[in-house]
């Protein structure tokens, strides 16, 4: 590494046309003809494996049959009845490890029905129609619920509660609702501002007051919510990212991948987002892939994902890994960070120690290597990072909120779901399922309470 080398992090590496092409829908929507043809491949299985594989239990054969019968509205009803965020999930779900993985056409034809794309087709059609309302709000119950966090879990919960007639206050610390759908998912998966359009559609059910810029920073706030509401749902997500814990982590150019993705999502033009000429992404999950692919799409010359374990241990699905490779991202395994190298306060590279598995434990082989880098993106996982939760007396497990099978926390009247609870898969669709399950339980509890009080 030459001593006079300058860190090369800058925006505007590509032409406007290239940015537009790179950040358009990476999976284009199906045309009418494609949708009909693809829908005709569905066998309308009994007790369909795809439905069982969906955390929200969408009746896949039913909605696909409706598409085949040119009843896209009915198809969207089937989808949204089980998952009101079905439009987003259609774009974001790793279908290759959920519904499409178990499609019986894999066995017979070596290729599953494109369930995700068909789901998007149906919901897009509904959203674009003159009357895209399909749910009627029940008469007001007079009950109030607070939902903290307007990510997928909170949105799903708030929508279901509002639909059941309850009055919902939906709070979020950020300037926009949507949570990771708005701030955390790769731009090319959610072209055309879909996350916000979906939020608008969800809120249009009525009965939900959105309060943005509201952060849970003190135990008294939660007490206040509990006092003023009949139920509280926490869908806070994960506020903090793990640290590498190696020297040089504070050098300029070492960035949280989550922040990088968020900045890109919020940028009015990707051409304004700076990216390094050489980027190293540390991690092995979806966030690492999203950050790496988008670095490449922003014009980085060389991008490598570096993971300390083997390919079989990566949390990113094989499909995601392949996507990264197709986009020109290198994936290096068995390398653990030792030190971030820098000059003049800026990153110049990173030193890694080669690892091997011995007796189930990761151990260095003694070999080291250095990768040049202008930018290091950290994607090694997130954590709850909100000390208030423990202060409130919420029981935690594995560093996240402990809940039972209905989503109830240790505090009566407080439910939780999404990434902030223990035992989840950190998927959008999983968060939606948590939100819906809590809403069902809350609705049940409020109904019981109403019956008892004779109101």
């Amino acid at each position: 590494m030459s001593a006079d080398r300058k860190a090369d992090i800058r925006p505007g590496r590509l032409t406007a046309e290239a940015y537009a092409a790179h950040f358009a829908d990476h999976v284009p929507p199906l045309t009418d003809a494609q949708a009909l043809l693809e829908a005709s491949r569905c066998l309308y299985c009994f007790d369909a494996p795809c439905t069982r594989a969906c955390p929200t239990g969408i009746d896949v054969p039913s909605f696909i049959k409706r598409i085949a019968e040119e009843n896209a509205r009915g198809a969207a009803e089937t989808i949204l009845e089980s998952n009101p965020l079905g439009g987003f999930c259609a774009r974001d779900c790793p279908t290759e490890v959920l519904c499409e993985q178990v499609c019986v056409r894999n066995v017979q034809q070596g290729r599953p029905v494109a369930i995700g794309r068909l789901q998007r087709f149906a919901v897009d059609r509904l959203m674009a129609s003159a009357n895209n309302r399909i749910f009627e709000r029940a008469p007001s119950s007079g009950r109030r619920a607070a939902v903290v966090g307007a990510g997928p879990a909170g949105l799903a919960c708030a929508h279901a509660l509002a639909r059941a007639g309850h009055t919902v206050t939906l709070c979020d610390a950020r300037p926009k609702a949507g949570g990771l759908n708005e701030y955390g998912v790769a731009t090319y998966k959610t072209a055309d501002d879909y996350a916000q359009r979906e939020v608008e559609w969800l809120l249009a059910i009525g009965g939900i007051t959105l309060q943005l810029g509201w952060a849970l920073t003190g135990a008294d706030q939660l007490e206040g919510l509990c006092r003023d509401h009949d139920a509280v749902f926490l869908g806070l997500g994960l506020a903090d990212t793990h640290r590498l814990g190696v020297p040089g982590e504070t050098l300029a150019g070492v960035v949280d991948a989550v922040e990088f993705i968020s900045a890109l999502r919020q940028a009015p033009d990707p051409g304004t987002v700076p990216v390094g000429r050489r980027v190293v992404v540390i991690g092995g999950g979806m966030t690492a892939v999203d950050a790496a692919v988008q670095s490449k799409l922003l014009g980085a010359e060389r991008v490598d994902i570096v993971y300390r374990r083997g390919p079989q241990h990566m949390r990113a699905s094989v499909e995601e890994q392949n996507l990264a490779r197709i986009r020109g991202v290198g994936i290096l395994h068995w390398l653990a960070p030792v030190e971030v190298l820098g000059e003049g306060g800026a990153v110049t590279g990173m030193r890694f120690a080669r690892q091997q598995l011995g007796a189930g434990r990761l151990a260095p082989t003694g070999e080291e290597c250095v990768l040049e880098a202008d930018m290091v993106l950290k994607a090694i996982g997130q954590r709850l990072g909100n000390p208030v939760l423990a202060q409130c007396g919420l029981a935690l497990r594995e560093g996240r909120i402990a809940v039972d099978e209905s989503g109830r926390t240790s505090i009566p009247g407080v439910w939780a779901g999404g990434d902030c609870i223990a035992g989840g898969q950190d998927l959008t669709v999983d968060a939606v399922a948590h939100g819906l399950r809590a809403a069902r339980d809350i609705d049940l509890q409020l109904s019981i309470a109403r019956t008892r009080s004779g109101k």
Partner: protein, 435 residues
Amino acid sequence: MARLDIDFCGIRSPNPFWLASAPPTDKAYNVERAFEAGWGGVVWKTLGEAGPPLVNVNGPRYGALLAVDRSLIGFNNIELITDRDLEVNLEEITAVKRRWPDRAVVVSIMVPCREDSWKAILPRVEDTGCDGIELNFGCPHGMSERGMGSAVGQVPEYIRMVTAWCKRYTRLPVIVKLTPNITDIRHPARAAKEGGADAVSLINTINSIMGVDPDTLTVSPAVGGEGTHGGYCGPAVKPIALNMVAEIARDPNTAGLPISGIGGIGSWRDALDFIALGAGSVQVCTAAMVFGFKIVQEMVSGLCAYLDAKGFSGVEALRGRAVGTVTDWSHLDLNRVSKAVIDQDKCIECGRCHIACEDTAHQAITCTQNGRRHFEVKEEECVGCNLCVNVCPVPGCITLRDLAPGEIDRRTGLAVSARRLEWTAHPNNPMGRRS
């Protein structure tokens, strides 16, 4: 939201989708499952006389015509009427109707063509509490060899006679199920009406043989090396059924007679066809046998969405809307001119339209232009026959354009007339009325 509930000749059901009299309605177990899935009604599989039950073959009863992707085009069966004891059936019908009072339970009956046979069974059926009866004059195999089923349905006098007996011995609405194995469906329908029928249902299955096994050279399917004709149904028969329904709906002698449409109904679109051509309820069998009872939910969803989108208040508002558009060929307007138009942006250049037109129609589609592959309609040759539209693999790529009055038809060189001209008044018609 549009209303799907119907009142069909006094029989009410929450939606117009009934299961036809067939294996899916053979016993309480199936019918209960059907009602749980959402079917509006059932026509219970045909009951026969008291006594030793019928015997079915214990081998292939069904055969299918499949597309290359194994989706079903047509279906054939040689099942007879119920092979279960009459008493068991009557008990089950009674219990099911009691448990599902809002659903239509119609009982199909087929007994010998003797007044005492009908007189004996009708009170027994009425005692079940069912909503109506359907006379099976349609079954084309097995039972017809015994003088029942289509053997009755092919003789209008018999239809009239048996229908009249039924009207005499029961207060229940009487639906006469018609066989398509005749030359003119209006005659049996008229006979049913003359006999006092409250409604007709059609079509029953069509005589059919599915094919021959190329290795054994026996008809297929075969029972021990031999086969017999079966009854054909499924998507392939829908157009035949629609024509017959429309014929009855527009026949002045039977106009207004309630019609339960049957034949190839597998989706809400199929149901729409029947309802728009006059049917007040629709009956389904093959689609349920292929996909299970759940498909009724997709049918209900689709029909509801359509009625809402078009602003129809319910099924009744849609019923018969297309009947007035069906006429005899001799009354079609011979002055209307259409030309095919190929959307070049949608054309994938497969050439099917060209070869179809070139070999078998009017040589009205090019295959090259300036030495390049290019398919375009030659209006000077095109008669607007619609063949290219039908063979084109791309939806919406080829359409027919109606020429406006005054526009020059480049085939004839004449201006399109705004005046209506039917064959009955055409100058070339030697029998024509001159105006």
